[in-house]
């Protein structure tokens, strides 16, 4: 006997189902993490998992390491339903694409979709995404001239057809990769992950004796939309435009956003932004949308999970032609995350005009990736160890309303920093230093988070090849409301005191020490409003120098480290007057 459908108890059970769907996607994500091959998956959870209704609307998505999948997955399932209309889906089908414009912004992300059936009736779909190690081409570097240089592109295609594996496709994927078996393992892991989710979905429906997800879907979408819209409606109506200039590769780039808030509607357009680069730092719109919406969702009702209801409250558009944040095919996009990760700062530049009390200063934002190789073609030394490592480090986050920024912390990406002992074990590198970078946090009433100083060299006295993929070397993270900028990043050869470029392949000669300093976050508010005791504490801990305390904060310290109240008062007064 099925439960009655409309009783009070079944109303309560809608809440249970929402939690269960969230758990299904979490379980799906864990299953994928457990078997994935790519280090970025392991270190940062660069995957996603979601459950959808029969119309392809996302009902729940796993909270995973990186925000790049947030909207991309929700949108990509809709594309799949265009290629494979629901009435043609069969039990045992699973579909695949890695098209950057349909999937997740670059070729390495594979997106799978599987229809879920309960007693032969299509009841929903499940999807998952994972970052694969290698798909041939020029790989992950930004030096491809178009997407065809970057590797193998697979349009939406049946990977499993009514239970029958598409071996031809799998062979192609393996034949076009430097890591064929890892790719095979990852593809099977993705399929298994979809199978788990479908099984859990139907198990829940049996337990709660329902035959359709329509009612719970409507409940999730309505609740999420209502709460998110209410949060948007609290913000004053208006049009807020903001421009950020960032380093870029071949030229400096303007990122421009115009945000319109009307009642409970929020839309963003990127008109006015720079045109595409000739290098792979261009961003497909799905990916610029993902990081934009992530930034917005941190402000507007972040407690509401991601689903078609909550994500549908934000509209992101861009000009069709000539916009680096809406890169058209076949632009190279392998390193789309460099600008992508700066999108939240762009959003906050707009929102700061509307709700200054709730918005942090700019942070280092772009992760300070450090892909290093040695022992390959350009190195002439005998007996040099061959290695290729990609270690990630981060700078500081922007100061926050009421709080300092976090020192050396990944935001918005969730990519872990590497441990020195591990890096030194897998590659012949020697780190001479990895410490907080004094004075790198932007001064303010609330101080920006600090970056770090890293100094490294070859343990074998060999040259090292660096593939630089960072930003914020020319243009630091800016402060707000009188707060000062954080220190910009530095890539430098220490002995010869020569600066390196923030992007592209370069050599660190044998015997050199590579000086790699990650940026600090911007400060928030007038530094002179920072309580003198806090400035003195920062100096005592060595994160602000006595000189900077005086110069930026107007705080004079006595030799014992205590505040010289009289001199400080005079200094702060004088600056106010002048």
């Amino acid at each position: 006997m099925a439960h009655s459908k409309t009783s009070s108890a079944s109303d309560i059970e809608l809440q249970v189902m929402w939690n269960r769907l969230q758990s299904v996607v979490d379980e799906q994500a864990q299953a994928l993490m457990h078997t994935a091959f790519s280090p970025i998956v392991r270190e940062s959870g660069d995957i996603s998992a979601g459950v959808f209704d029969v119309k392809g609307r996302m009902m729940a998505q796993a909270v995973t390491g990186t925000p790049g999948h947030i909207n991309t997955m929700a949108e990509s399932v809709k594309y799949f339903t265009e290629y494979f209309p629901p009435d043609t889906m069969r039990p045992g089908d699973t579909y695949l694409t890695n098209d950057p414009w349909l999937g997740s912004g670059h070729l390495n992300d594979f997106v799978l979709v599987q229809p879920s059936f309960l007693d032969d009736k299509l009841v929903g779909m499940v999807s998952c995404t994972s970052h694969l190690v290698d798909l041939g081409g020029l790989g992950m570097g930004p030096d491809g001239s178009d997407v065809y240089d970057e590797g193998l592109l697979i349009p939406p295609i049946k990977l499993v057809d009514a239970g029958q594996m598409n071996d031809t496709l799998l062979t192609l994927i393996k034949s076009n990769s430097r890591a064929p078996f890892q790719n095979e393992g990852d593809v099977y892991a993705l399929i298994a992950c979809c199978d788990v989710a479908s099984a859990r979905l139907t198990s829940m429906m049996r337990e709660l004796q329902i035959t359709s997800l329509d009612r719970v879907g409507a409940y999730i979408f309505d609740t999420s939309r209502r709460i998110t819209e209410a949060a948007i409606a609290e913000v004053p109506d208006g049009t807020y435009q903001h421009t950020m200039r960032v380093d870029g590769y071949d030229f400096e780039i303007d990122m421009v956003a115009t945000m319109k808030i009307e009642g409970s509607k929020l839309s963003v357009d990127f008109a006015g932004s720079s045109p595409c680069s000739r290098y792979g730092i261009n961003v497909p719109l799905n990916y610029s949308t993902a990081y934009s919406v992530f930034g917005l969702r941190c402000i507007f009702a972040p407690e509401v999970p991601n689903n078609a209801g909550s994500l549908g409250c934000f509209e992101v558009t861009a000009p069709e032609e000539g916009c680096i944040l809406n890169a058209p095919r076949p632009a190279p996009v392998a390193q789309r995350h460099i600008l992508g990760q700066i999108m939240p700062d762009l959003m906050y530049g707009c929102l700061h005009q509307a709700i200054p009390d709730r918005i942090p200063a700019e942070g280092s934002s772009c992760m300070y990736d450090l892909p290093l190789r040695g022992g390959f073609e350009m190195n002439k030394g005998q007996g040099a160890t061959k290695y290729a490592v990609e270690v990630t480090h981060n700078g500081g986050t922007g100061a926050r309303p009421g709080k300092d920024g976090l020192s050396v912390a990944a935001f918005p990406s969730g990519v872990y920093g590497a441990q020195v002992e591990i890096t030194e074990s897998v590659a012949p590198l020697l780190f001479r230093r990895r410490e907080l970078r004094t004075d790198s946090g932007g001064a303010g009433k609330y101080r920006g988070g600090l970056g770090q100083n890293i100094e490294l060299e070859s343990r074998e006295n060999q040259p090292i090849t660096l593939f630089a993929t960072v930003d914020r070397v020319k243009h630091p993270a800016l402060g707000r409301d009188g707060g000062l900028p954080g220190a910009p990043g530095v890539l430098r050869l220490m002995h010869s005191d020569r600066m390196l470029n923030s992007k592209g392949k370069q050599e660190i000669p044998a015997g050199e020490i590579f000086d790699f300093r990650t940026p600090g976050g911007g400060g928030l508010g007038d530094p002179h409003e920072r309580p003198t005791g806090l400035v003195a504490a920062d100096v005592r801990l060595g994160i602000v120098s006595p000189e900077a305390a005086k110069r930026d904060y107007g705080v004079v310290l006595m030799p014992d480290g205590n505040v010289d109240a009289a001199k400080t008062a005079r200094l702060r007064e004088r600056i106010v007057e002048s």
Binding site: R400, Y416, E421
Partner: protein
């Protein structure tokens, strides 16, 4: 009665209760006494006096005392440890602050990093450096320690943690620093990372070392006091201390490495579940312990708990993974969630019922306790739904106020959502059970497993009450409620071996397997581990286990591969490869040819042998028993309160059978037999519940 020295006694100090279990040649006597936070030894002595009286024995008839405690954890949580300093390699002063460079909550812009046990002003560096093969690059300059020594003395530092880069491979510099520190700062406790955690990853090793240094003075004096108090009480028993890895160790080892005692209490419940699994011969088990504040889940396979080498202490957000400081010690892998009887229900910003992790604890406790609690809890909802008997709760210690529970659930949960008290209570129950079931499923997935089809072993004051409800949500068809489930941890201790596990890092790839280095390492680990175990067990065979943690180059998850017995030779590498591939194939279905296999860590475990429990059987002939009383509980199927049978567990005999819906009550807990389940008493007096039909 019993011979001198024949009794074995286990004591588990928890946050609220101190549980004591006495095993007198197979006869089990248990009690629960209140924990005495200001001097926990009082509670221990009270408990011991109570059981010796109940068993009518003299203290000298107790030969062995096994002690588990949450004091080490509490000292870390409540920041009650020693004033601690940290010394590391020049250039790396900020290992603690930099950590893994990550934020533990993606969407919360306002999070704080976990508060360090040592501030940057108490972190010092010395000139020295080893490389990743343990060779000295920069010799230790002893004079560079002078500024640190001056600060240690000036600041009144009580305990110092030393963690130098790559010291897990070469401890010479750390040892010399200890000598210098001891000479210059007498009375200051020193912990070396190469002693407590000789493992790669500087942040994890530093945190473990600091954790140990932080609690070492406190735990040392507590354990010495305890030992003295027991002697004064007339107990001449050998004292063993439970470790987080599920074994016990000598007092001496516990004083040296108290970090290994963190979370030793909960490990007892998992050990008990292992014994029950073996007794009942079930190989896939979820140990489920639900108390007043939290629920803990542990996966058990082939009678062995899942184990891990990492644990988090001092979390900024208690139930958020990654918000705390990592500690690398051998632990029984458990997931803890904020779901207990005292967990508070509220309406969240999405107008949904949310339960926990805030808890009313035992003071003021749930509304129905009548001790001033005003917020509705899981226990209140269980009372409203009829699962608890207001007149016979907690050994009849106090009367529950059902009307107050109904009012609180109705006013604070029902009214805002437009439901009556019963439906609101049903919602609370559904959501708390859902969160436990979800945690179990997701945790299993993290280990590449699933809980469906397994067996639940339910302990704790609330475990047996919620077990069938969780089973319904996880496709589990069998539940075992052991005897005295309310003091499960202490009973578990009684069956623990004396054991010690050492984990050390030696990175190697199978393509360049260095047999000599591995042989040396394992030889050292073996002699260290066996010496520690032999200090507590001079006679008898030891079980020894050697493990390599292996993975494909670049993959995240390591497999624990058994190292073949005998001398380590070049062939060992080949056998390890075969063992790894066999295990990999079984778990993942396909190998990854052409990719090198790497080994990061090695483990050596030495343990005394423990006799297997007598196997329990379900009698072929079963009797349906009639109820002693009736009570009414909520039925989802009928959408109203229905009348069900209630049985006293003490009245049920081996072979008795009860069909759900029914309640089985005992002093410390109540077992809910949901509709669709039957309960049978097996030959070891366990309650075995099995699904007979897919119920509601």
């Amino acid at each position: 009665m019993g011979d001198r020295n024949s009794g074995r006694l286990a004591v588990d100090i928890g946050g609220t209760f101190t549980d004591v279990a006495l095993d007198l040649n197979g006869q089990l006597v248990t009690t629960k006494t209140l924990t005495t936070p200001s001097r926990p030894i009082e509670g221990v002595l009270n408990g011991i006096r109570a059981v010796t009286q109940m068993a009518e024995i003299n203290p000298d008839q107790i030969g062995t005392i096994i002690h588990g405690t949450t004091l080490a954890s509490n000292a870390l949580i409540e920041r009650k440890g020693a004033k601690t300093g940290f010394i590391t390699t020049e250039g790396f002063r900020d290992i603690l602050e930099i950590a893994y460079e990550r934020r533990y909550d993606q969407y919360d812009l306002m999070i704080d990093k976990p508060e360090m046990l040592v501030g940057r002003d108490h972190c010092w560096t010395v000139d020295e450096r080893m490389d990743a093969s343990g060779e000295v690059i920069t010799p230790l300059d002893g004079s560079s320690l002078a500024p640190a020594i001056a600060q240690i003395i000036e600041q009144g530092i009580e305990s110092v943690a030393v963690c130098l880069l790559h010291s897990y491979l070469n401890n010479a510099h750390e040892r010399r620093l200890r000598d210098l520190l001891v000479a210059a700062c007498p009375g200051v406790s020193v912990t070396l990372s190469s002693d407590v955690c000789p493992e790669i990853r500087e942040y994890d090793r530093a945190c473990t070392t600091i954790g140990n240094a932080y609690i070492k003075p406190l735990m040392g004096s507590y354990l010495e006091d305890l030992s003295g108090a027991l002697t004064a009480e007339g107990l001449a028993a050998s004292l063993f201390i439970m470790t987080s890895g599920g074994g016990m160790t000598t007092l001496d080892t516990a004083i040296k490495a108290p970090i290994r005692l963190v979370e030793s209490g909960p490990s007892g419940g998992a050990i008990l579940a292992c014994q029950v699994a073996e007794q009942c011969d079930v190989d896939k088990v979820v140990a489920f312990d639900m108390g007043g504040t939290t629920a803990k889940l542990c996966l058990i396979e082939e009678f062995k708990p899942h184990r891990s080498r990492q644990f988090e202490i001092a979390r900024a957000a208690r139930f958020i993974k990654g918000s705390g400081l990592p500690v690398r010690i051998p632990v029984i892998e458990m997931i803890e969630i904020g779901a207990g009887g005292g967990s508070i229900a509220r309406i969240d910003s999405l107008n949904r019922i949310a339960v926990g992790p805030d808890s009313a604890s035992s003071d003021p406790g749930p509304v129905c306790y009548g001790k001033g609690g005003t917020l509705p809890t899981v226990t209140d909802s269980d009372l409203v739904l009829g699962y608890l008997d207001p007149d016979n709760f907690a050994e009849g210690r106090f009367q529950l106020d059902r009307d107050a529970a109904v009012k609180a659930v109705h006013d604070q949960i029902g009214t805002p959502l437009g439901f009556d008290a019963t439906i609101a209570a049903y919602g609370i129950s559904q959501l708390v059970d859902e969160s436990m079931a979800n945690a179990a499923r997701v945790h299993a997935a993290e280990w590449g497993q699933e809980v469906a089809g397994g067996t639940l072993v339910a302990t704790g004051g609330n475990g047996p009450l919620h077990a069938t409800r969780i089973a319904n949500k996880t496709d589990i068809d069998r539940i075992i409620v052991p005897r005295s489930p309310g003091v499960g941890s202490a009973i578990g201790f009684l069956g623990a071996p004396i054991s010690y596990e050492i984990i050390r890092s030696l990175y190697c790839r199978l393509s360049s397997f260095d047999a000599k280095a591995v042989a040396n390492l394992i030889g050292e680990m073996e002699s260290d581990a066996c010496a520690i175990v032999r200090a507590g067990a001079q006679d008898g065979d030891l079980v020894e286990k050697r493990v390599a943690f292996m993975r494909y180059d670049g993959q995240g998850h390591e497999l624990e591969v058994t190292v073949p017995a005998g001398a380590i030779t070049r062939e060992t590498g080949e056998i390890l490869k075969q063992n790894f591939e066999a295990m990999y194939l079984e778990l993942f279905g396909r190998l990854v040819p052409g990719v090198d296999i790497e080994i990061i860590n090695w483990a050596f475990v030495a343990a005394t042998k423990t006799p297997p429990p007598e196997s329990a059987v379900i009698p072929d002939t079963q009797r349906d028993v009639t109820a002693s009383t009736e009570t009414s509980i909520y039925s989802r199927q009928d959408e109203k309160m229905i009348s069900v049978s209630t049985f006293a567990r003490s009245d049920l005999e081996i072979g008795d059978r009860v069909e759900g819906p029914a309640l089985i009550t005992e002093l410390q807990t109540t077992t809910l037999v949901e509709s669709g389940f039957q309960a049978v008493i097996d030959s070891a007096e366990n309650i075995i519940m099995t699904r007979i039909a897919r119920g509601e």
